[in-house]
């Protein structure tokens, strides 16, 4: 992974000093609350329902074991002993004290981490495929490009006070596990006619109040122009994006208003005009960053059959929670943060430390966080899988449900988030209670369930095969259901609302009915979302809104 040099270290150290001073001035009353707000947000610090919330950046989801141990220590010493992994691969703490945040940032800096630009109207953490570097279908590793973008975006002199937040995702595989089409900018690694690596550039995708799939504005961008082109996009956005209405301020609104073709022209014109002053990404710098992402020293191994003769439990786990690796004899292991009693994405300090130990012992000391709020040990020898499974089982991190309905995404919702309209954690618990039979879950198969507590869509409900959105109906918590969304690649689509929202306690029953329709109607190995696409919303709708006695 990328290791800071002296320059990188100095930036994070000086950021800590800067924030310490800002906090001091705020507490002393010489820095106005509104101004401090804009500044603390740029360090990931929100003031939430119960306490401040601190969001720590995990660039493209990659962490070294010593970083994970530090996250555990912070959870223990400054929070209530746990952290929450978000859909942007970051980790959030829900109970730190404002005065202690500079100390937390200092601890983070000591292991080359930070909270820079994890919030606020600036360029946010750049995300990538969580199987980057190990996925068999990958064209090129997105992470070096993410790191280059991270550095370019850090404290950018011109683009640190944008109309609204700005999210970039990079993906190196056609499967697009980074959901690049629903980002402000999506970069897909492609090859041109001459076989050279470059980027397809998408712009203006997003979720939230106005969900929309991004538009391609450049089919091939050469790496040397990467930062220059991003500069051009950001400049057009910085000048043209709306600042009068927070709900209309994302780049997608600008792209929609002028039209993607015109937007493309504007960016191209800006790009051409700025040739003299734009940053050039040199081969030397690309090579320098890439040298941090060379593959680890894999052993020469053959794929082996580790499931025959093994017990059911292990086999289930192997099938659901491990993934094919591009190197023979290895598998990528998904550490499930979705066991029934656990709020999705939550992990305790002790569990984090155990995962760090396992990473050291079995996976080159690295851990990854995913968009769906799990962790990954990406490079486990197949011969070690059983030991890893046992160790994970002992700490409740081996729930064999990855990719199934209970591997649901949920934002923190009303329990913790001050913007929420409705709770998500209760609903998640109820769903877990209703769908507690693994065989049934396996029969249902791959199903992405995503839940957000409000229109801000942190739980990405629009792109769930089933999406659940919390809404506030005269002070009561209700839930709107969408079907048929998908975040990935060619498949990317926004879900369709099935009808009026349902009451809190009816959510599990509603899911049950949706699943029944699917099970009756599916052909062969069709996934839920495929059946939905084939038969449309009507049969689902009819069943969901049927009176109880006719629903079965």
């Amino acid at each position: 992974m990328y290791v800071y040099d002296e320059i990188d270290q100095r930036v994070v150290d000086e950021r800590v000093a800067q924030f310490r001073d800002q906090t001091r001035r705020f507490l002393a009353g010489t820095l106005h609350e509104d101004d401090f707000r804009a500044l603390r947000l740029r360090n990931g610090l929100y003031i939430q329902r119960h306490a401040p919330m601190l969001r720590v950046s995990v660039p493209y989801g990659l962490m070294a074991s010593k970083q994970v141990r530090m996250l555990a220590r912070i959870a223990r010493e400054y929070d209530k002993g746990f952290g929450h992994f978000s859909t942007r691969q970051n980790i959030q703490y829900n109970w730190p004290k404002l005065e202690t945040v500079p100390d937390i940032l200092e601890l983070l800096a000591s292991v080359q981490m930070h909270a820079i630009q994890t919030s606020g109207n600036c360029i946010r953490n750049v995300t990538a495929d969580h199987f980057a570097g190990v996925a068999p279908d990958e064209l090129d590793d997105p992470r070096p490009w993410c790191e280059i973008i991270r550095q370019w975006a850090t404290l950018h002199p011109e683009f640190s006070f944008l109309p609204r937040k700005f999210k970039i995702a990079v993906t190196g595989s056609p499967q697009d596990r980074a959901a690049s089409k629903v980002h402000d900018v999506g970069l897909n690694l492609v090859r041109n006619g001459a076989g050279e690596i470059g980027f397809e550039v998408l712009v203006g995708g997003g979720l939230g109040r106005m969900p929309i799939i991004g538009h391609v504005i450049r089919e091939y961008l050469a790496p040397r122009d990467l930062l220059a082109y991003l500069d051009a996009i950001l400049r057009v956005y910085n000048m043209g994006g709306r600042r009068d209405n927070i709900h209309k301020a994302r780049i997608k609104v600008l792209v929609k208003a002028v039209g993607p073709a015109k937007f493309r022209e504007m960016v191209d014109a800006e790009f051409e005009k700025s040739r003299d002053i734009a940053p050039v990404l040199t081969d030397a710098e690309i090579a320098r960053v890439k040298s941090h992402f060379v593959p680890p020293k894999y052993e020469l191994l053959q794929d082996e059959d580790v499931v025959t003769g093994a017990g059911n439990e292990f086999r289930n786990w192997y099938q659901r929670n491990t993934r094919k690796h591009k190197i023979g004899g290895y598998r990528a292991v998904v550490v499930s943060l979705k066991s029934p009693q656990r709020p999705p994405g939550d992990i305790t300090d002790v569990e984090m430390e155990k995962v760090a130990d396992l990473a050291d012992q079995y996976s080159f000391g690295l851990v990854r966080s995913t968009h769906d709020q799990n962790l990954i040990l990406a490079d486990v020898r197949q011969q070690d899988l059983k030991a890893v499974w046992q160790a994970l089982q002992a700490i409740d991190l081996a729930c064999p449900n990855i990719g199934t309905l209970t591997d649901m995404i949920a934002c923190p919702g009303l329990d913790l988030c001050s913007l929420a309209n409705a709770g998500t954690l209760d609903v998640a618990r109820q769903i877990n209670e209703r769908f507690d039979n693994l065989d049934y879950l396996y029969d249902i198969g791959d199903l992405e369930l995503k839940m957000s507590g409000c229109m801000n869509a942190c739980g990405h409900h629009h792109v769930g095969h089933i999406g659940i959105l919390g809404v506030d109906k005269s002070g009561e918590e209700w839930y709107q259901i969408t079907l048929g969304g998908s975040a990935g690649g060619q498949d990317a689509a926004l879900g369709t609302v099935i009808g009026p929202s349902v009451a809190k306690n009816d959510v599990p029953e509603t899911l049950d009915r949706l699943i029944c329709v699917y099970l009756e109607q599916r052909v062969e190995s069709e996934r839920f979302v495929d059946t939905f696409r084939r038969i449309g919303v009507a049969p689902f709708k009819a069943r969901v809104y049927a009176p109880a006695d006719q629903a079965a």
Binding site: V11, Q22, L155, H156, P157, E158, L162, R288
Partner: protein, 162 residues
């Protein structure tokens, strides 16, 4: 009275806004963009120094032909969330090679100065009551920068040959 930082020092302001000094007694006037557009010819031969004050939606390219005459551009900020002025300064300095003073005016606060200076601002009007004790250190909040801008960024790394 706002307090002016120029070239990293607090200095007395030798410029006046035209509204405060309609006849230009101080021989250095800042004229709002719209008025400058309308009265350009009439001011051109005046014997004082001229500056233009622009808002976030005013196009800096319109000033390019005026650079012979104007020696200051004041860029307005309505608050910390206003970010267009950074681009305006950047373009003035780097694309259009304006060499006069670029001044940040309006609701300017200490923690923006680092970014502003890197975009080409060299003068800053801090509002009345601003905490001047901490302002001048803002330019040194960070000793290294990733981006090339007015001052070199990533170049550091290239030079070091790492």
């Amino acid at each position: 009275m706002p307090q002016l930082i120029r070239q990293r020092k607090f200095v007395a302001d030798d410029w006046r806004n035209i509204d405060d000094d309609p006849t230009g007694r101080e021989r250095a006037l800042i004229i709002p963009f719209a008025r400058w557009q309308a009265e350009r010819d009439q001011w051109w031969l005046w014997d004082g120094k001229l500056g233009v004050r622009i808002g976030p939606t005013d196009a800096v390219e319109a000033l390019e032909r005026d650079f012979l005459r104007i020696s200051l551009v004041a860029i307005e900020f309505s608050g910390i969330g206003e970010g267009r002025g950074y681009t305006q300064a950047q373009l003035l300095r780097r694309r259009y090679q304006f060499t006069g003073e670029i001044r940040a005016v309006g609701k300017v606060q200490r923690d923006q100065l680092f970014y502003m200076a890197r975009c080409g601002f060299d003068a800053f009007e801090l509002p009345d009551g601003a905490d001047t004790a901490v302002a001048l250190t803002a330019f040194d909040d960070f000793s290294v920068k990733y981006q090339d801008s007015i001052d070199p960024g990533l170049n550091l790394r290239r030079r070091a040959g790492t």
